[in-house]
């Protein structure tokens, strides 16, 4: 977990439109209805992509995250918004590495949630070895 406030010196995120139309920004914010693939040509100059979760029930950001990681993005991928402790393990599997929840999370619960699953059935964007591969070596 990184902390939720802007780090000193961190560049604020620009919107996707602003990013695509100008700019030499290195941080961008992606709303749920925006196409993550629009960023693919620019990934090597991005240091931070913030994916918005205005409501935890809106799961589009999970796909956005995976698409970005699958396209080779290695910078910071942050889940921001209605991010709850019960979602972060899945978010991590989809490639998020930092979290900026609107409401602070209890660190002990976070720790428990992230260490809950011993293995995973399916491959995702976190590099975990899926169970079928463990079974067959």
């Amino acid at each position: 977990m990184t902390d939720t406030a802007l780090q000193s010196g961190e560049e604020p995120c620009v919107t996707l439109d602003a990013f695509l139309s100008q700019s030499n920004a290195t941080a961008v914010r992606l709303e749920p209805d925006e196409d993550a693939r629009a960023l693919i040509p620019h990934l090597d100059r991005l240091a931070l992509i913030e994916v918005a979760f205005p409501k935890f029930r809106d799961g589009r950001g999970y796909s956005s995250a995976r698409i970005l990681r699958e396209a080779g993005y290695t910078g910071e991928l942050r889940a921001q918004g209605d991010v709850l402790v019960d979602q972060i393990a899945y978010m991590k599997r989809c490639g998020f590495d930092t979290f900026a929840p609107e409401k602070a999370l209890n660190p002990a619960d976070v720790e428990a949630a992230l260490s809950r699953w011993p293995e995973h059935y399916q491959g995702a964007a976190d590099g975990a070895v899926p169970i079928w591969k463990l079974r067959h070596g």
Partner: protein, 543 residues
């Protein structure tokens, strides 16, 4: 039957621990009901009119006797001594206390069962043909394919907050016993050049906008099935509507895009997803398939059956189906006694069915989408003994696929969304038509009742469907004719103005009388309806 290995055990145990922790935080007031709701839903726990309802997954409807006994035990210890088998081949308990839920899930885990993803906007329990592995007409057992999908979809990190719930069915015969094309994804295992693959039908569903799934891809090889499914889901997760809960199912997306455009988007996504290495090797399929190896059945077992007891003979003709191995049969146990609650079984009945499965059916049972139970692998020589035991327990009603074999949702007796009661209507219809000779005269007649437009009782797919609506504050029932959830899939049409509770029973009688007057040799009710159309029936109902 599939047996958990250490990994499967660890996953279910982790889930029980997680949910116990979530319940603890909810009871301690650390999370709100709004935050708790999606979590409990992903564990099968609904808040209903009177209590919590727990839905336990029966993957592809298959159980062994130990698991069946656990279902009886839970009914006895935590509920009111009965359980309700559902159209999704699961079981529901209607009177659960939130505090008990973690203990129940722990008990279930001890027999390799769970309530994972039986509700919530995620990929639900995979359903299948209840005669899988036994049916004479299947090209292969569909359950290994379903198990592969079960594992892939369990705790899927990307697809746990979909626009809406997602239901998958897998079959492997041309006769569709699982309403395959009324699922979000219906898969039929087919053969091409001597190899099996999956035909994907995507975008079916019931609810207020029923749709029959179009064929999206006619053959997906085994080694690509999961990446193809992943591509289907990703397109849906990204573009399915989230602005209106009634338009959020994948059927609406595909309807709005058109099947061709959806197919194109899936192909594009799949070209990418396929390269990610998320498809297991065929060795994993083989590992699973080995556990579904057919039981050792003696093909030289005697084929003749002593029909001298007339009551037994009636049941035999109605409820027993052909098995692929000579000397064997498939026993269908009706949970539809006249005047009973469709799909309900008491703990004692559940235990008895478990005993019979252990003794006579190679330890296997199935739950059907028509809310009945199947003993799939029975020696013909044992049929009479089985029938006697079932009969003594009130489980030998010989009405499979007849008018009293009714599918009914819980309706207003339990469900907070209901407009009308379903159960009493089912009971009245079954009572009106209780004369078995009359039922047999009417032949195959699938009657399905939903208490509201959500269509949990499959009313769109009934040869005769009944839909409960709310008319100026009183319960009212609309009548639909001509639907089917089988291989001749079709959606029913509303006859006209609705009826009250007694009126709907009378209307059905007029409809069935009309059928008897109109039918030609060998025609089922639905065949006659398709041939003559709505007009004569309308005339008979409304005069």
């Amino acid at each position: 039957m599939y047996k958990y290995d250490e990994y499967d055990h660890a996953m279910v145990e982790a889930r029980v621990a997680e949910f116990s922790d979530q319940v603890r935080r909810r009871l301690a007031g650390e999370i709100t009901e709004d935050q708790f709701k999606p979590l409990r839903l992903m564990n099968g726990l609904y808040l209903q009119l009177h209590a919590y309802m727990l839905r336990v997954a029966v993957p592809y409807g298959t159980l062994d006797s130990r698991q069946m006994r656990m279902l009886a035990h839970i009914a006895r210890k935590y509920d009111r001594d009965y359980g309700h088998f559902t159209t999704r081949q699961n079981i529901q308990y209607n009177w659960i206390k939130l505090e008990d839920a973690p203990a129940i899930l722990e008990e279930l885990a001890s027999v390799e069962m769970h309530a994972i993803q039986t509700s919530g906007n995620c990929i639900r329990n995979i359903s299948s043909d209840q005669w899988a592995g036994a049916a004479a007409d299947e090209i292969t057992d569909p359950r290994p394919w379903a198990e592969l999908l079960r594992q892939w979809s369990s705790f899927h990190p990307e697809f746990s907050y979909l626009p809406r719930k997602f239901k998958i069915a897998v079959i492997a015969a041309d006769e569709d016993r699982a309403a395959m094309r009324l699922h979000d994804i219906g898969i039929q295992i087919v053969e091409k050049d001597g190899v099996h693959g999956a035909a994907f039908y995507v975008g079916g569903g019931m609810g207020r906008t029923p749709m029959i799934a179009p064929l999206i891809k006619d053959f997906v090889p085994l080694e690509d099935m999961l990446s193809y499914a992943e591509a289907c889901l990703r397109v849906y997760n990204r573009y399915g509507r989230r602005d209106n809960i009634y338009k959020a199912r994948i059927k609406i997306l595909i309807h709005e895009l058109g099947a061709d455009e959806y197919r194109r988007q899936v192909e594009e996504e799949w070209a990418h997803v396929k390269s990610l290495g998320i498809d297991p090797p065929n060795a994993e399929f083989d590992r699973i398939a080995a556990q579904f190896a057919p039981p050792a059945l003696d093909a030289s077992a005697p084929d003749e059956i002593d029909r001298s007891d007339p009551d037994f003979a009636v049941w035999l003709d109605q409820n027993v189906a052909a098995h692929k191995v000579p000397g064997h049969a498939i026993v269908n146990i009706s949970l539809k006694p006249v005047g009973g609650i469709p799909g309900d079984a008491s703990s004692a009945q559940i235990d008895l069915m478990a005993d019979l499965a252990e003794k006579y059916s190679h330890d296997e049972l199935r739950v059907t989408h028509a809310q009945n139970i199947v003993l799939p692998h029975v020696r013909k020589a044992d049929l009479y003994t089985i029938w006697q035991a079932l009969d003594a327990a009130g489980l030998a009603t010989p009405n499979l696929d007849l008018i009293s074999d009714i599918i009914a949702c819980p309706g207003l007796d339990y469900c907070s969304l209901a407009n009308a009661r379903s159960i009493p209507v089912a009971q009245k219809i079954a009572t009106r038509f209780s004369d078995l000779d009359r039922q047999k005269e009417l032949g195959e007649l699938k009657l399905k009742i939903s208490g509201c437009i959500n269509a949990c009782g499959h009313h769109h797919a009934g040869h005769i469907g009944i839909l409960g609506v709310d008319r100026k504050g009183t319960e009212n029932y609309q009548l639909l004719l001509g639907g089917s959830g089988a291989e001749d899939v079709s959606l029913g049409t509303i006859t006209g103005p609705g009826f009250d509770e007694d009126g709907i029973v009378d209307a059905i009688e007029r409809v069935t009388d009309k059928y008897l007057a109109e039918r030609t040799e060998g025609e089922r009710f639905v065949d006659t309806f398709r041939r003559v159309g709505m007009a004569p029936f309308k005339e008979a109902i409304y005069g």
